[in-house]
Amino acid sequence: MMNLVLLGDEAIARGAIDAGLSGIYAYPGTPSTEITEYVQHSKEAKEGKVHYTWSANEKTAMESALGMSYAGKRAMCAMKHVGLNVAADVFMNSSITGVNGGFIVVSADDPSMHSSQNEQDSRYYGKFAFIPMLEPCNQQEAYDMMHYGFDFSEKFETPVLVRITTRLAHSRAGVTPKTKKEQNSVKVPDDLRRYVLIPANARKRYKILLEKQAGLETESENSVFNTYYDGKDKSLGIIVCGIAYNYLMENFENGIPYPVLKIGQYPLPRKKIEKIFNECNEILVLEDGYPFVEEMLNGFFGSEKKIRGRLDASLPRDGELNPDLVAKALNLNSSQGSAIPALVANRPPQLCDGCSHIDAYKALNEALKDYTPGRVLSDIGCYTLGALPPYETINSCVDMGASITMAKGAADAGLVPAVAVIGDSTFSHSGITGLLDCVNDKTPVTIFILDNGITAMTGGQFSPGHGKLEDICKGVGVEPEHIHVLNPLSRHHEENVKIIKQELEYNGVSVIIPRRICIVESRKMAKERKK
């Protein structure tokens, strides 16, 4: 009997809690945010005193999780795919140290870029770091894989990467839970030098990591998550990864005539792949994300067999899969309804009515009126919507923290004044170190920290630098007379413009903090007060 209804994200969280999780560490990011939020609201997690507060960024999160695992307990960190870039250093090295308590990293990819800067495929990181991976196809597997993953992680003393995509993260279905496990107790590793990656140790550990690989492959070969389904028609063999399995099944109500190899665990099960490869005339690879498996099958010089997928245009090279694209790759009919009428206009997301960012942008636009355009380097958050009309204030959004450092580089190049625009949460995520660079060079930049009190873009989570922004700036060395807190309201427009203009003229580091609570959050707070 299915007795829980869970998002894919929530199934992961619940699975982890039931598998004896002692702590989750994370920084929010669509589509991964609900994993941590589930733990935060879970009665079971509270009773078990599971750690669940937000970290400053993905790197601090993963390191804390690794530390909890070092101390013997089961730990998890969750992030969106680009978060794994931020945490890549610890990720790569954690496979060399190995782990003590079970250690799972969840990375939620976003093919089609519903809410992201790119659609990078986390599986390359797993391979890069020699870290085994699990890729669930549905909510139940997501749940089950957490139990399996933690046991597996402890058995092989390895981190495990769980890779999901947006569609599973944000889709709800019934899940049957398993019996709950107790948490581990504190126990440091037997070998106290294992985590000391000085070259002499690191070389040893790296050899151990390489030797581990054969065992990981055997485990994949025998895994319940890598299943071979035989089929009579050997004209085609289908290798299908993660959620793509659902799109395949959707197209064959009465069973699939071809052999199918369903992949949910990596490294790839070589023998099973050989089997389908040898038995079938042609191979079709269905995978959401990059052509990761398809590339491996093709090798550098191609293969003697025809391999179809994203690389030979059987499927589009980019974007998320769906049942219709899979149908087309299989030469099946699809039954599109009528076309979208021409009058239907695009409706992109936009800043909310009453958003504090609007007033900040109006003031900044006016202050910059007499300068040549193209000098506002910005960052990621709700305020990125200021790139769109009617504001068109900002000229970049690359990766979290890049506003301050790119403005620095632009100013160093002679684009003076250069302006940086960064949100409060993004600033504490990775803006502080860049600010230190600016201070050390006395770079002529004017840095806006748009302080709406929370991490708004992802739904109003705690902002790690909340209440500390001026102190952080002063502590890093910004001159106090060049730190200004503004009240971004239309009635303060004139005075705000005046202060901004004055700081744009200053030949050094200025920080301007327009501060007003996010309008969505303030409504939420008002509602709660009423209750």
Partner: protein, 190 residues
């Protein structure tokens, strides 16, 4: 039994509550379901949709294939048209006619109505107006769900019960308002 439903609207219009209501009812009826929803960026006043699939057999894809939706339930008229490629030949379009205009190039309501008239099975009602008459202006989404309820293959009582489950924490008044709205939608006569 199998029903594929597309929910459409603009971020903040309450399609999440519609989905949750159908979800609770589906669980009570012991049906399999999958519901894919939109989180993140698009919720800020952008176009949002949710694919809702109900069946007495296991469901695979979280997404409905093109041309296979049995019903589109939309809380906004232009948004209803955005998902026509998913609507099956004999499917129903149930939509609010009150536009939500937050873009400069929003088409005329007449031109939208003309598009509705080309579709075989349409129920178009001004759910905002009906909700306002009930003095429950926030329940327009439930009016639309009520109007769609005859085509869902779910017992109406189950939807009412689901509203109790969903809004119970918010107090009796909110539950009553939403149920009134749901009923008004069901009883709507063009």
């Amino acid at each position: 039994m199998k029903k594929d439903i597309i929910l459409a609207g603009v971020g903040g219009q309450g399609i999440v509550s519609i989905a949750a209501t159908i979800g609770y009812a589906a669980v009570a009826e012991n049906l399999f379901f999958k519901q894919s929803e939109v989180h993140g960026m698009s919720q800020r006043g952008g176009a949002v949709q949710s694919h809702f699939r109900l069946s007495d057999k296991e469901i695979f894809s979280d997404l409905i294939p093109l041309g296979k939706a049995d019903i589109i339930i939309s809380v906004e008229p232009m948004e209803a048209l955005r998902y026509l490629p998913w609507l099956s030949k004999n499917g129903w379009l149930v939509t609010n006619t009150e536009p939500y205009i937050n873009i400069p190039d929003y088409p005329s309501l007449d031109s939208i109505m003309t598009e509705f008239s080309k579709i075989q099975n349409v129920i178009a009602l001004n759910a905002d107006k009906i909700a306002k008459e009930l003095k429950s202006s926030k329940s327009a989404n439930m009016v639309v769900l009520g109007a769609a309820s005859p085509y869902l293959d779910i017992k109406f009582e189950q939807l009412e019960k689901a509203i109790h489950t969903l809004f119970g924490r918010k107090g009796e008044k909110i539950v009553e308002d939403n149920i009134k709205a749901l009923r008004a939608g069901k009883d709507y006569k063009p």
